[in-house]
Each structure stands twice: as C-alpha cells, then as structure tokens.
C-alpha cells in the first residue's frame, strides 16, 4: 500500500465569478523513503494539492476524487479522526516560515505543541539537534531567528510527531543559495535516515533535481509530465518542462551561455565607482567598492541578500549619497543638485525586481511609460515616443497596450513595461536589480533575451544585480562578486565562474543545487 496516493483529485474554488478549477484530475503516488517533486509556476495548483492532503483548503474549495493516506481516504474522515491524523501521520513544512510561525510564542513551545496534543513523547532539543540548531534556540521567538533558522524550526516542528509523510511547500524559497543548500541537505538526510516519504513542492527545477527521485510537472492544474527526476530533467518531453529546465541554466554549460565572443565590448568606460562607501549608522552596507561598466557591456553583480548590492545600485543611480568615494559618469562626478541629478537620470535608468509593485496599479501602461517623458518634458509627439519605447520592449502592437492596467498584464509583460518606461528616456545604461527573480521560470529567458537584444541594437549597457549565478553565466560579459559590502572578485564570466579564486565565490558555486545534466569542473579542489 502506498504511503500517499492521489486518485483523480480535482479541486475547484467557488468565487464571485463562478467556479475556478485549481487542480484537474491529478493522480500521484508516493512510497516510504521516497521523495516526490512537484514542479510548476505560481498558480499551477501545486500548493492546492499540498493543502488537500490534510484537508486544509479554505471553505470555498470543492474537492473531488480521493486522497489516500496509508490507504484511508482523507475526504471521508470524521473531524476527530482528521485531527488525529493531522501532524501525526503527515505534516507540512509551510511556505514562508516567517508567517507560518506564531510570532508571540517561543519556537520551543510551538514545536512541543503537537507532541503534547497527540501524546507523543520526545524532546524539543533532540528535534532541534536534528536540524542542526542549538537547544537554546527553543527559547527564541520567531523574529529572533534568521530565515534559514526559521525554516529549520519548521522542519523540526514537522518531525515532532515522527510522521511517515512530510509535505514541504517551497521550503527554500526566499532563502539565500548558501542557506538553501543547507536546508536541502537537512531534508535529504532526514529522508534517508528516517525512511519518511517526502513531497517537495517548488518552482525551481534545480532544487527538485538535487533532492527528488521522481518528478511531476504541473501546469494549469494538470500534470503535464511525470517520471524519474533524472530523466525528466535530462530529456524533457513536454515544452513546458523544457522551458522550466532552460530557466535554470547550469554554470559551465556552453549551451546555456548566450553571449558570444563578438559581443565583447571594448567601448569607453561609462560608469565608474571609486572607493564607494555607504554607512547606515554603524553598519557598513558598502565598504569601499571600485567598479567599472563600459559602454555596451553587461556586468553582473552577484551576491547574497544583505551583501550590499542593492545599496550599491542605488548609490550608482544617485538615489543614495555615498559616505565616501565617488561615482563618475563619463569621467565627471555625479551632480549633487536635484536638477543635475535629473539630467543624469536620462543617461542611467533602473529596472526593479518585481514589476508588479514597480508599476503604480492605478496608472495605465501609457501613463507608466510616459511618466519619464513628462517629468523631463521631452519634446516630440508623446504617443509616438511611448509607442516606440513599447515596441523596443517587444510589446507589439504598442497601441493595443496603451489603456491596459498592470493587473491585466502577465508578469513578463509588466517587466517589459518597466523596461519600456526606462527606454523612453533613451538611457545608455540600465541598472537592473534582480530583473527576473520574481518572474515565472518560462518567461525569464525572454526578458534576458530582450536585454541582450537591446544591447545589440541600441548599444545599451547593463549592470545586472542578481543572486543567481546561472543568470550571470547566461548573459554577462563580466562578473563582480560582492560579499559583506566588498567586491571580493571580479573578472570575465569565464574567469570568475569557471576558475574562481576567492573562497566565497567557491562557496556560492558549491551551493547551487547540483543536477545530473552535466559534469562540472571540481571547484573545491582548486588551489
């Protein structure tokens, strides 16, 4: 008998506009000691599947089909039986440990709560030990722990009643690569040591590739491809799986590198930072950085969150004044007056991480793109200029998009609008802060291709800030690695990513989830 079996599961949500199907006839099975990966983009129904296992769906959900836990149908259980099964037979590691933990209770109490409830003996410090946290962490409140620590607490909590099945819903999203690797290791070890069944849900194929035996890919509530993880990733048959796989390129794989030797820019230096330092009170966000971007060049600035890369970007844009050092554009220092800075904005523009929040929800596409034109009182026919910028950003025909509001567009289209808004000013450098991090995997490639095409056609240089080494590998000419406010290494992509010299770069590269597609150089043994 399977540990978990979904038979023809369908879930509909009743809403104001009738019923919406979230999951359509999904059938899956999982044995003890196995890990099943469930991949898909946001809204594909993977979280709904997770929640239906313990019947945690909201009241407006209608469920059809069977969810068999150890052969017993969850849908048919009485409330009392359901409460006994919850957490004791199967537990959940929820997405976003930040909100899934109660902020006013100590984490030790929260871990112990299900043990008391289900009458299971055990010790909180043992559980914390299993996820490599010290016993004193039990006395902490959630806000006193880091993101990775909270995620481990969630895992410890999920193990509290020694369930045979654990469902992990995006357990590493919002975590840094290095922390992500640690959390994934903990999960892998627990599966092999305890023989539990694990369902891993993620949008990130590389995370699943490194942990799962079997893999199912979902789209629009349906499973489009299923099979052994290795096979699905190495030779995907469904186009959606192929798009997902391409979105997480492997560093060192020539097939995923989209920059050719001819692209190499040899233009004059456009932007130069000299010994830039930014202090917030006592903390040094940026601690003395020298960086150059040449005309027509794409530079990737890589680092974990908190490394100071966003602060550096804001300083380069003149949105933040450096504590020391200077920023030069074409050899002249950035102006300090607001009118001088305004003129500078026509040269250097910003593309933000999340296009959904980077656009005012009340402004139409036309207004969003025309905003810069109006601020700078740029002469010319406004509709023509807006249309031009939109078609540069590949939104065609542009007039069709004029009246749309941001919420009527897809994530990729929104990011194109943000880029069009920047292009309308005719800048020579784009500073893009995690430009694809919040986009669905299948559209990442398109936006990156757009950046490359803009460079080719308009000679537009770009400084791309990212935590994703794969992204740097895909589009950058040069890479600068930032760690604790300093640039620890910079050079061409091949130099830095294939033969890294600094320990931190090696740590970063080692933390990228390994999959079985390609063999990589062995970094850890380099001198």
């Amino acid at each position: 008998m399977s540990l978990l079996e979904l038979r023809d599961l369908s879930v509909h949500y009743r809403g104001a506009r009738g019923e919406v199907a979230a999951v359509r006839s999904v059938s899956l099975g999982l044995e003890a000691g196995q890990t099943l990966g469930l991949a898909g983009e946001s809204g594909c129904g993977k979280s709904t599947v997770a929640m239906s296992v313990l019947r945690l769906l909201p009241r407006n959900a209608r469920v059809e089909g069977q969810v068999l836990l150890d052969g017993e149908d969850v849908q048919g259980m009485s409330w009392g039986r359901l409460r006994t099964v919850r957490w004791a037979a199967a537990s959940v590691v929820f997405q976003g440990a930040m909100h899934a933990l109660n902020p006013v209770h100590r984490v030790g109490d929260q871990i112990a709560e299900p043990m008391r409830l289900h009458g299971v003996s055990g010790s909180v410090s043992d559980l914390l030990g299993q996820v490599e946290l010290p016993a004193r962490a039990a006395r902490a409140y959630p806000h006193e722990l880091s993101g990775g620590q909270k995620q481990r607490v969630m895992i410890a909590m999920a193990l509290a009643c020694a369930p045979r099945l654990v469902i992990a819903d995006e357990p590493t999203t919002a975590l840094d690569v290095v922390v992500q690797a640690q959390v994934l290791d903990v999960l892998k070890r627990l599966v092999s040591e305890r023989g539990i069944g694990l369902v891993m849900i993620s949008h990130d194929l590389s995370v699943l590739a490194s942990t799962c035996d079997r893999l199912a890919v979902m789209r629009y509530g349906q499973i489009v491809e299923e099979g052994p993880a290795r096979e699905v990733i190495a030779s995907p048959t469904h186009p959606h799986t192929q798009a997902l796989a391409a979105a997480f390129p492997t560093v060192g794989d020539p097939a995923s590198r989209q920059v050719t030797a001819e692209d190499a820019a040899d233009g004059p230096v456009l932007l130069r930072a000299e010994g830039v330092r930014v202090d917030y009170g006592a903390t040094k966000a940026v601690a003395g950085v020298d960086l150059e971007v040449r005309a027509g060049e794409i530079v990737a600035l890589v680092g974990q969150s908190g490394s100071g890369k966003t602060t550096l970007a804001r300083t380069l844009l003149g949105l933040q004044r450096p504590t020391a050092g200077r920023v030069l554009f074409e050899g002249t220092e950035l102006p300090r007056s607001s009118s001088g800075l305004r003129a500078y904005r026509r040269q250097v523009q910003l593309v933000l991480q999340d296009p959904t929040s980077a656009l005012n929800p009340r402004h139409s596409v036309y207004e969003a793109v025309a905003e810069g034109l109006r601020i700078h009182r740029i002469e010319g026919d406004e509709p023509t200029l807006v249309a031009e910028a939109l078609s540069h950003a590949e939104l065609r025909p542009p007039e069709l998009f004029f009246p749309s509001l941001p919420h009527e567009l897809s994530g990729g289209q929104r990011q194109r609008v943000v880029i069009a808004g920047a292009l309308a000013l005719g800048p020579r450098l784009l500073i893009a802060d995690e430009p694809v991090a919040s986009l669905d995997a299948s559209v990442r490639g398109e936006i990156l291709a757009l950046l490359l095409r803009l460079r080719r056609e308009l000679g537009l240089a770009a400084l791309v800030i990212t935590h994703d080494l794969g992204l740097a590998w895909t589009i950058a000419d040069r890479v600068a690695v930032m760690y604790q406010g300093e640039l620890v290494e910079q050079g061409t992509v091949e130099q830095v990513l294939l033969s890294p010299r600094h320990d931190y770069t090696r740590t970063l590269l080692a933390a990228v989830p390994q999959d079985q597609r390609s063999t990589r150089p062995n970094w850890t043994s380099s001198p």
Binding site: R342, R346, Q349, S357, N360, Y366, P403
Partner: protein, 294 residues
C-alpha cells in the same frame, strides 16, 4: 490620451458605486443622509422660523405630544418638532465645516510627516501623538470657554482637536505607498517631491481620506452636541445639543418630559449612524485590505 483616462475613471466610479450599493448598511446610511439633508435644506421653506422665538411662543409649556404639536412643547411652549427640525441644520453645518478643517490639517500633516522623513517627520509625529493622546473634549472645552461663543468657535474647537487621527492614518498610508517600488521607480525616472506626492501618493491616499472624512463627520457631530450640551454652543441658534442642554437645565428628566428628550438625541444618533454606516461601507469598498481576497 485623456479620453481613455476619463473613461477608465468613470468605469472605476461605476464599479465602486456598484460595490457600495451591494452593501445594505451603506445604502441605508446613504438614503438616511439624503433624507436628512433634504429636510435640513427645506426647513426655512416649509416651516415658519418665528416658531423658534421664545417671545412668540403661544402654546403652554411641557405639553405632551398632541395632534397640534406632534412632539409636544418645551419649557417655553415651543414645538419640539420644529426645534428638532431646525437643529438639523446647525448640527450638519458644524459637523461638516469642522470635518473639512480637521481633515485638511490631518492630511497635510500626515503626508508631510511621512514624505519628508528626518527631523520634520519626528517633530510632526511628536506633535500629532501629543494631540492624539490629549482628551479631545477637554481641549475643546478649554478652547470654547476662552473664545467668544459662536459657530466659528465651535467649528475651530472641534477641527483643532480631531485632526490627529486623520494625520496618523494618512501618515501610515503614505508610508505604505512610499515603500512600494513604484515610488523608487518614479524617483529614478527623475521625479521630484511634487511629482511623487501629486502623481502617486495623493491618488492612493485620497480614498482613505474620503472614508475617514465620513467617520470624522460622525464624531464631529457628537462632539458638537456634547459641547452645546455643556452650554458652550452658540446661544443664538438652536442645535440638538443646545436643546438637550435646555432639557437638562429645566429638569426634563424629573418632569418625565420624554418627548423633549428623545427627538434631539435621536437626531444625533440617526445622523451619526448614517455617516458611520456609509463610512464603513466605503471602507470595505476602498480599503483593499478589508476585502476578502485571500
């Protein structure tokens, strides 16, 4: 391009109205307000103001309701119905005027405190917090005692004491809006203070200010009636509060003159309730956080 913008604005207004109209409480409040406003406007046209004059009162004092005086008479023999009807005017005028003053102060202080940051914000917030904690009635009493009696004084006393709640709300909302990346984008595009406030902050804050206004009117009317009840109102005009002041002074309770006590108070309750219901319904429509989206 303006036509598109206007079409969309009209569509938004229509959608907002549909959503508002779907809430029974809000609709009841709105109809109530409409009726009360019409009554207040019609008072001088339909009734004879001379009935308010004590010297021309003809009926006997303390008369219970009868066919002639539907709501009885007061201690001077004036019709309570007429007095209550006319009282509507002062209560509404004072409530609205004081609210405009208070919301104006609150909005300016709130946006300034959130937008400019630094010591401006610190000083303004310290100031707002101080007035927020200060019991508003006590301050309003002090102001209306030392200033000459009159409508202007009452409006000033209420307006000056009830703005801090608006200021805090507007500040919080402004901070929330300014933390959104589209503000950063606007700055990166070269937008200055005027652009950011005018194009991004104000449009996002105004719906909330509007909701807050309806709720502020409600409390301003209660405050007006309280001040008048304490004898601090305009002695030359009839308001619901001053009627209750008279009722209390002349022993309506011991006279068991319920007909003199109930109508003015009921007037206050109806108007305040109508404004509150409208405000709450608007709040559910305009404040996305309260919509059951999740």
């Amino acid at each position: 391009m303006t036509t598109i913008a206007w079409q969309r604005r009209r569509a938004t207004v229509r959608a907002t109205w549909r959503e508002f109209a779907s809430q029974r409480g809000g609709l009841v409040g709105l109809i109530g307000l409409a009726v009360i406003t019409v009554l207040a406007v019609l008072a001088p046209l339909v009734t004879d103001a001379s009935g308010l004059d004590v010297t021309r009162a003809t009926a006997a004092p303390w008369r219970p309701p009868s066919a002639e005086y539907w709501l009885g008479t007061d201690h001077n023999g004036r019709s309570v119905l007429l007095l209550t009807w006319w009282g509507t005017r002062i209560s509404l005028v004072v409530g609205l005027a004081a609210t405009v003053l208070s919301v104006l102060i609150g909005t300016v202080v709130g946006i300034a405190a959130a937008h400019f940051g630094g010591w401006v914000s610190a000083v303004l917030m310290r100031f707002t917090d101080f007035f927020l904690v200060l019991p508003s009635l006590v301050l309003a009493i002090a102001l209306s005692t030392v200033l000459p009696r009159g409508l202007g004084t009452i409006v000033l006393a209420i307006g000056v004491t009830s703005w801090p709640a608006t200021a805090r709300l507007v500040r919080a909302q402004t901070l929330a809006v300014e933390a959104r990346p589209f503000i950063e984008r606007a700055r990166a595009l070269g937008g200055g203070h005027g652009h950011v406030i005018g194009r991004h902050v104000l449009p996002a804050v105004l719906p909330l200010v509007f909701v807050n206004t309806t709720l502020t009117v409600a409390s301003a009317i209660v405050l007006e009636s309280t001040l008048s009840f304490l004898g601090l109102g305009d002695p030359t005009r009839v308001s619901w509060g001053s009627l209750l002041h008279a009722a209390n002074m002349h022993g309506a309770v011991s006279q068991r003159a319920w007909w003199f006590l109930v109508p003015p108070g009921l007037g206050v309750v109806c108007v305040v309730l109508a404004f509150t219901l409208c405000g709450r319904a608007l709040e559910t429509v305009l404040n996305p956080r309260l919509k059951g989206e999740r």
